[in-house]
Symmetry: D2
Subunit: 383 residues, 4 copies
């Protein structure tokens, strides 16, 4: 049985919509049954037809999608809606979808503002529906292994976290060149108050909290607009304090010329450290104070159930970004199917990012921007 999936946003010319669709197909847990794929009604239609959707379920707006689908018979109507629009069109459709009784997968950052995020938290909880926020990197099996490793206390108390996300693609004024990806990401009306901090900083922040099991409690940020004419930050960094007393450093830049998407995290405890980076996604490096470092690899027989559950092929056949994304979709589906079957989902299935991560991510964005403007050194991480 496949879950019936609908999509809001992600029409022709979009990047992340296609990624969501591939992710939904990899493990065959979903069937795409409807869509409102663009805010432009014409484009929405054309995109839906191109995807082979039933024309009667290709909608010209997200409102229409929710309204019409709600009226379909229970065994026909959509079960999960993926929302892959720019940030300013996250809250309303998510709210409407949840309130109409649909489960939601939402692209990050979760909302346009922290206020929206907190409001959405209430809505999710009231709805009784499942909600997934696509912090892709937490879908990598070795990221999951890292979290389990720390949680099991193998590194001792955590003392230091370094996390970085250096990109170079916004090194020039790309928004002046009719580049769709660049345009909305640098537009305060669509992205919100942050650019790089919202787009990739939230990923770095989420990865650091996910693996360390800690929460940032204070931060001190340097926020920069480097490229002339740009309206939102394209670079930032922060000193961090965590709730256990550990400290950290976060770096996120879109003007790191020549860099691709090598998000990297290092976590150090009393007994050792660990290191993971997307460029070597199938490797988790474990370092010790007094013995050789170890190379933990996807597919290894020694891995936890969290890693092995999220792996499809033998060690040495690399899985990548799309499979990590697919793991979010798969675990969300397994959870919902368990719900539908009246069973308790396995803990490995429930290990996908949700509303709490979304609220913290939006708090991160607002605290970072506030700190960037403040003369005060440490700001409490306020939610």
């Amino acid at each position: 049985m496949k879950l019936r999936l609908g999509m809001i946003g992600g029409g022709q010319g979009a990047f992340i919509g296609a990624v969501h669709r591939i992710a939904s197909r990899i493990d065959d847990e979903y069937e795409l049954v409807c869509g409102a794929l663009s805010s432009d009604a014409e484009k929405a239609k054309a995109s839906g037809i191109a995807l082979g959707l039933d024309p009667t379920r290709v909608y010209s707006s997200w409102k229409e999608l929710i309204e019409k689908e709600k009226q379909l018979p229970e065994d026909v109507r959509v079960q999960v809606i993926s929302i892959v629009t720019p940030n300013h069109v996250h809250f309303e459709p998510t709210k409407a979808a949840l309130e109409a009784g649909f489960n939601v997968i939402l692209d990050k950052p979760m909302t346009f503002s922290l206020a929206e995020a907190k409001e959405l938290e209430k809505i999710v909880k009231a709805s009784g529906k499942r909600f997934c926020l696509t912090h892709t990197y937490t879908g990598y099996p070795m990221v999951k292994e890292a979290k389990q490793f720390v949680a099991a206390g193998k590194l001792g108390k955590i003392r230091k976290v370094y996390v970085e996300y250096p990109q170079g693609w916004l090194s020039t004024f790309l928004e002046g060149e009719d580049n769709k990806q660049a345009s909305w990401r640098t537009d305060p009306g669509k992205s919100g108050i942050a650019g790089a901090i919202g787009d990739i900083g939230t990923h770095a922040f989420n990865l650091a909290e996910y693996i360390s099991g800690l929460h940032v409690s204070k931060l001190c940020a340097d926020i920069n607009i480097v490229v002339e004419g740009r309206k939102l930050d394209d670079d930032g960094a922060a000193l961090l304090k965590f709730n256990n007393g550990a400290s950290g450093v976060l770096m996120a830049s879109q003007i790191a010329a020549g860099d691709e998407n090598n998000i990297k995290v290092r976590v150090y405890g009393e007994k050792g450290g660990l290191e993971w980076q997307q460029d070597e996604a199938n490797t988790l490096l474990i370092k010790w104070l007094d013995k050789p470092a170890e190379i933990w690899r996807t597919g290894g027989g020694y891995l936890s159930s969290f890693a092995s559950h999220n792996t499809r092929v033998p060690a040495g056949h690399p899985e990548g970004y799309l499979e990590a994304f697919g793991n979010l979709y798969r675990n969300f589906a397994l959870t919902i199917k368990a719900d539908l079957a009246g069973k308790t989902p396995e803990k490995e299935w429930l290990d996908y990012p949700g509303i709490e991560e979304g609220v913290r991510g939006m708090a991160f964005v607002e605290n970072m921007i506030a700190s960037g403007k403040s003369d005060k050194k440490w700001l409490d991480f306020e939610i």
Copy 2:
């Protein structure tokens, strides 16, 4: 419009069948409509049901599948059949499928023997249908880039080729432990005359010929059974001569303890060299005599159409083994759809391995085993 896909083999407990199915889904070009998923009728049924197939199109044998599908209306019946059985069940179903008018995707090595391979070549040509052999590694975008780089003469005349495929998983007598993957691969009745040479040696051989654009013309092989009690080779190496006078070395081992699947190829010409390995699949290293080496990366704007056509996400978001496999499926589908539309397929679509590669692969197997037994140094590469 999706192509209607059927599958022979690949039922519960199989490894490569699941990989084929994922590959077929990634780009949404296929719909799995029927299957004869096991030689065990019970298991075939159960597997088909588990996959959500229409029960009337879950068959208990490949013969039944072909016979029954042939009788279905043209717009219902299967269009492409994937055959993912052990080697001894390659030739017959492929022959039957082609002769029934179906396109075929076949797992490698192509057949049980070279004689079968040559016979199959005639059948493919006579059938007028499309045939794809899943030499996965040629699906990687940077492998395609490497081929184009050499073909464009950028390295000058090719002089030396090193190719290797070191695995360690058969370092112990795994076939004695009820391991399905190990059992058939080490069984002469199912694998044919070769073990490692057929299973992974053919991949190495294919990769070397694909990238270099050359053909092996002579070889001198060392073939070993290392693990006591094993019936087929688990290790081998060969000195190679190519048709342009270049020389080479091929290594394939399943007793390289601790190694995973890091197939690697290096090609050297008069002006420079190139290097690709699966562990860094999104990188192609280009080395020059007198200037800095270059790191060519999947997603780079400077890549050929062959690489960019086979890439889904931006540079730095790694694509892996499943996407490489998916590229074979996608290009095969695009080609067949062009056929169906009466159009000429693009050259990038036709760049998937086919019958010629299959014949050469089986010739490689037989020449290697013959050389392993011979006291003569160089054997001509006979087909």
Copy 3:
């Protein structure tokens, strides 16, 4: 003709003294003729004898060394004095040596305090003698290439600098275990006001300024004592602003459990970025916005005179830490020999760290510690 070298500090049990001596020997530009190798007179004697020094020139204190050597004939007496004592014994012997007419090589950080550093700057200038501060990493040929690359404008205007020095060796309370290296480095009476920041933070700071050609103008630091009972910082990080408007991040830690000495720097400009790290010391990675990254290698025929002058063996035969250290000694010797010969030293020879770097390094230490204690976000970099 070899220069006559003397050494203050570096007796039995010391680490860095032995490194200095090897560095002085590699290129055969020096002959060790005298020493006051320990503050313990007995140990100083024993160490000098063990090194095969003329017993009449093994001194029991640095004061004695300077006083006695000064009285020797000009063609016999020491010409260059290496001072490799803990920080609190840097200023006095350096001052005395310079005023006695000797050239000085001094280990970093330069002095116990910034006040001493500024005083020493005057003394150096007044003395007319040469002064070298052993910021080892600037001796690596690919670090020199990086500096030249930036200086030639190949990256365009510099926008971002990341520099890090993660070590793990002080993850435990090693100073409680009779460890000589740990003891003085964590003792405010010997190290000064800083621990990790002085010991390795200064290296990171120097490397960032050396390669970027920029000066830090503001900073905001997080300074931590992580290991219980420790008296000085063992971890720190800072947000940086440079004099051209660029920003940066500096990380230095001695509690990064499992890390060795992989100091790493990344510099990004408008057109591209570069990356160097000690673990791959013979490689300089050059990254571009729109073409493949390049691997520049020690020994490459395409390198600048600054890199090739500091390389001894062909590409691929790695040179390391001792050769980088040796480059400081060699260039200092070539400079002094030119002085003695009344010639102008080549620009490649003069490219060793000196008094200006030392003053900035001590200002870095004091500004970092001040910032660590401050509630104000940005402190001006004051000297």
Copy 4:
């Protein structure tokens, strides 16, 4: 007390002579006291003066050096003679030096022919003097660790060895361009019957036997002259059989365009494998069948006495080629000093390559060339 060192060959323009001299200085165990640095008497003189040698001990021929030094008082005359001439001037001066009572350090390959090598073996044994052959790579601490690891049985019985030495510097007809290094190496009158096989193949062969603790018993070689006009092989490969039944592959090429000097060895046993390469000289990778691979590092507290004895600086400060070379010199010196003191040298000191390795190396050269010409597949490894 330093040993008195003399040098034959290695004058101005030579590469390896300078390397030997640096190696001799690093650990301060030698003092260069005399030399016959060129076969050209003028050049020999000029080179000796440039090195600062006592003019009375700068000789115009190796014969003069040995004759005159023999007549000097025992506490003045040379104790160790380094012979760094091209291959055709190895045997005679080594013989003369040994028979005159001097210890000898000789560059590889040991002699011009196997016959000379076997003759030299007798002379060494008869002389009672110490003899070192500079197979540099065995001086790396992690190579020594690898040998100890295998010898301790940690990998179980060895089954497979891959060793390779790919260089690209002779990709063009460099000997036609007045290149001193290229000229003698490609001249049968100076190199002997082999080019690449003698120059770098012997290193690969020695490394494989050293680490595995095995002896090659059969081989099958492909020997090529790739560059037009060249007189000796510039490329070769061989299938190997070892005396314990293991098999192997050896590759050595000087036309691997773009490659530097990344000699690499992989050894596989029943329980795991190991891997070392010069490009990551301070790392030994240990791979296991069923647990994470381990990164063993120079300077690690867990290493054997053989590795730690040959390391000078803490982990993470890379040591390289010159230090590896220096380890040969140092261990040879420690051994001779023990001899002089009437003590038994430590086993770590005696771990330098000697006459047996030299004889096997020359047998390797002759067997390889013979195999290259033979139609027979396997040739016994004859000495």
